[in-house]
């Protein structure tokens, strides 16, 4: 296990943190499939349709996807040079740039900034990187008040849970859940209308925006040309946390750099359409340094924390393409597995197909042993990814690595050994398969389907189509010529 992974697994937990859940993916998936609330909540999920409507209006889509992937690849190809360029430009504009090798470093750096600036209250807009390091719990341990301000993040912070989607973190919650949480935490009369709940959150969080000392955001992109951090939000909380408090800290992965302002324009066209089906998000902010002479508003200090925590390792591996990711969520929105179980079954910060690739890469394959198998390899994710990450190929590579590392279950390894013993003996293999085809036909009976196989797992939910009495090799030998 990497140092970063150890840190992630030994986190202290608590509200808003991303403690990996115990058990296996398949166990958690089973629970979610039988959780009526999760099943009801997942039916509200409609981002795939929104994307498809938006993309239908963009004839240049395929070319833009190719260009966006190329922009990301350009940055990754000379990543350290681009990062140094970003650092130079940002520093020139008065930004303090910090480098975090591990998740522990992230928490230590942000806590030190808060201490030095005498911060008491922290307001946060969405940052998945901060979920990786359990930043909220670390800051709370320092005696700071931490308030998530993205509505979805706020809801799950009140519930003491983790995000189940990277852009719709509370999608697993129903309005009834939210009504209970607000009633309990705000001490207001219980209300169940979604507009009323949204207005109540606005009123409560407005107070926090006006009284926070430090704002923490993620960073959708870092622009090397200008040293800017790009924040993309619909609610406006990205603008709030980077404008109202006297300190702004943006935390983002080292892979997020792109070369120029023109590249921002290009990548945004596919980011927002892929995420929510919008031609642009309501707010796109480029933050470049603290407030200048004469400025009446804006933070007095701006910090950027550049996080490695496993990314440089992925860069040097055959998973590099995963670092192109711009965190739109389209792969999970289109994944038939994700749509049925939600994000918590994946057990770490990033769910869905991109999570099945990133989680084993960041916290070790041995700690995410069945995630690369949490997919049917139907390639919906590969088809919709705005930066053309070949997600099924990467999951297949991880499956190969699992086998090579001996991480598959004993029964599966034993089964493959038996199969390979037969497969290397063609005469015996032919005999065994002929026998199996005939027995299978008998078992299938008139229904031509087997209702129960030994072990029972596979046939628990469906029938196994029975063999029809002849093997492929027999049929092939007898084909008309």
């Amino acid at each position: 296990m990497t140092e970063a992974a150890q840190e992630a697994f030994s986190g202290t937990g608590g509200p808003g943190t991303a403690r990996p859940q115990g058990g296996t993916f398949s166990g958690r998936a089973h629970d979610k499939l039988h959780d009526a609330k999760v099943q009801r909540a997942m039916r509200n999920f409609n981002l795939a349709a929104a994307r498809s409507r938006a993309m239908a209006e963009l004839p240049e889509l395929e070319d833009i996807r190719t260009a966006a992937a190329a922009i990301r690849d350009t940055a990754l190809a000379d990543l350290d040079v681009w990062l140094e360029r970003f650092e130079t430009e940002a520093t020139r504009r008065g930004v303090k740039v910090h480098w975090a090798e591990t998740h522990a470093d992230v928490n230590r750096i942000v806590a030190a900034i808060a201490r030095e600036a005498g911060v008491r209250k922290v307001i946060k807009s969405k940052s998945m990187v901060s979920e990786e390091s359990h930043l909220n719990a670390a800051l709370e341990a320092e005696g700071l008040e931490v308030v998530e301000t993205d509505l979805g993040e706020y809801i799950i912070q009140l519930a003491g849970e983790t995000p189940s989607h990277i852009i719709a973190p509370a999608i697993h919650k129903t309005r009834e859940d939210v009504a209970d949480l607000f009633h309990q935490h705000h001490g207001t009369p219980r209300k169940t209308g979604i507009p009323e709940l949204t207005m109540e959150a606005r009123a409560v969080l407005r107070g926090h925006f006006l009284s926070g000392d430090m704002g923490i955001s993620g960073g959708n992109f870092l622009v090397a040309e200008t040293g800017s951090v790009v924040l993309v939000t619909n609610e406006g909380n990205g603008r709030m946390v980077s404008t109202m408090p006297r300190v702004h800290v943006a935390i983002t992965g080292i892979e997020k750099v792109i070369p120029t302002l023109e590249d921002v324009a290009c990548v945004l066209r596919v980011l927002t359409r892929s995420a929510t089906g919008q031609s642009i998000s309501n707010y796109v902010t480029l933050a470049t340094g603290p407030k200048g002479a004469g400025d009446a508003d804006g933070p007095e200090e701006m910090h950027v924390v550049l996080v490695d925590a496993g990314r440089s390792t992925v860069l040097g591996s055959d998973m590099r393409e995963a670092l192109r990711c711009i965190r739109c969520g389209a792969c999970m929105n289109h994944c038939p597995v994700y749509q049925n179980i939600g994000g918590h079954a994946y057990g770490w910060v990033y769910p869905g197909p991109i999570g099945s690739v990133l989680t084993p890469s960041y916290i070790g394959l041995e700690n995410a042993v069945d995630l690369p198998n949490a997919a049917t390899l139907c390639n919906q994710c590969g088809v919709v990814c705005p930066v053309r990450i070949p997600l099924p190929d990467l999951m297949r590579k991880l499956r190969e690595k699992q086998v090579e590392a001996g991480l598959r279950p004993r029964w599966e390894r034993a089964g493959l050994r038996v199969w390979s013993w037969f497969a290397q003996r063609p005469a015996l293999y032919a005999l065994a398969t002929r026998l199996a085809a005939r027995v299978g036909r008998l078992l299938g009976g008139k229904r031509r389907a087997i209702g129960r196989l030994p072990g029972g797992g596979w046939t628990g939910e469906r029938d196994f189509p029975a063999p029809q009495g002849r093997t492929f090799r027999e049929l092939y030998a007898r084909r008309p010529r």
Binding site: A168, R175, T243, P259, S279, I280, G316
Partner: protein, 215 residues
């Protein structure tokens, strides 16, 4: 070794590059920045103002068009009255200099506060492709005025409308040079769909964005 050096070293190892950055790499990065490569993008056809106005409405902004700056206060006053909103606002200083009193409005030149209901701003530029306002922060162009009030009114001179973000960046480099502390692109009122995926207008930013094109 600092964390910075360790990370940069690991990245170079991952790239299988020489231990120290080379002149060739620096040249490659410089050239890529200088090239300002514009990617493939949708054509923005027809009349820019018409396109801008229709895209604004698509992003749930309301729109109005007047012939000259002197007509702005009357138009804004009528809009606010129609919505039952107060006829007072915080505004950018340049905007506050318009003849608001004559239109029955009380407009103060100051940054908006948390309790202001209406904020009035100009724009740096606007973008026809997406119905987007581009606002630059500055001593006289306060970002809070387009953020805190429930209603944001933006005055957009027609000759400030560019086809797309690429043209907006190019013009900003020409006219302004370095970017200010904050460049804010605003496309309609703030929104969220975080409860059961149902779209709600008015999350943390304004409930209403009213765009008045001049000219």
């Amino acid at each position: 070794m600092s964390a910075r050096d360790n990370i940069l070293r690991r990245v170079r190892e991952a790239r299988q590059a020489a231990a120290a950055p080379t002149a060739e790499e620096a040249r490659r990065v410089d050239e890529r920045i200088r090239a300002r490569t514009v990617g493939p993008r949708p054509a923005v056809q027809g009349d820019l103002v018409e396109r801008f106005l229709s895209q604004c409405e698509r992003m749930s902004s309301t729109v109005a068009r007047v012939a000259c700056l002197e007509d702005v206060p009357g138009s804004v006053s009528a809009f606010l009255s129609g919505k039952g909103l107060p006829l007072q606002a915080a505004a950018w200083p340049a905007v506050a200099a318009l003849p608001w009193d004559a239109a029955g409005m009380h407009v103060q030149a100051r940054p908006a506060r948390g309790d202001d209901l209406v904020g009035i701003t100009g724009v740096h530029l606007a973008i026809a492709e997406t119905g987007t306002l581009m606002l630059l922060s500055g001593p006289d162009t306060h970002p809070v005025t387009s953020l805190l009030p429930e209603t944001h009114v933006a005055i957009v001179p027609a000759d400030r409308i560019e086809p797309a973000m690429e043209e907006a960046w190019a013009r900003t480099r020409r006219e302004t040079g370095a970017l200010p502390r904050a460049v804010n692109f605003v496309s309609g009122p703030s929104r969220t769909a975080d409860i059961e995926g149902q779209l709600q207008i008015g999350a943390h930013g304004p409930f209403r964005v009213h765009v008045v094109v001049v000219g």
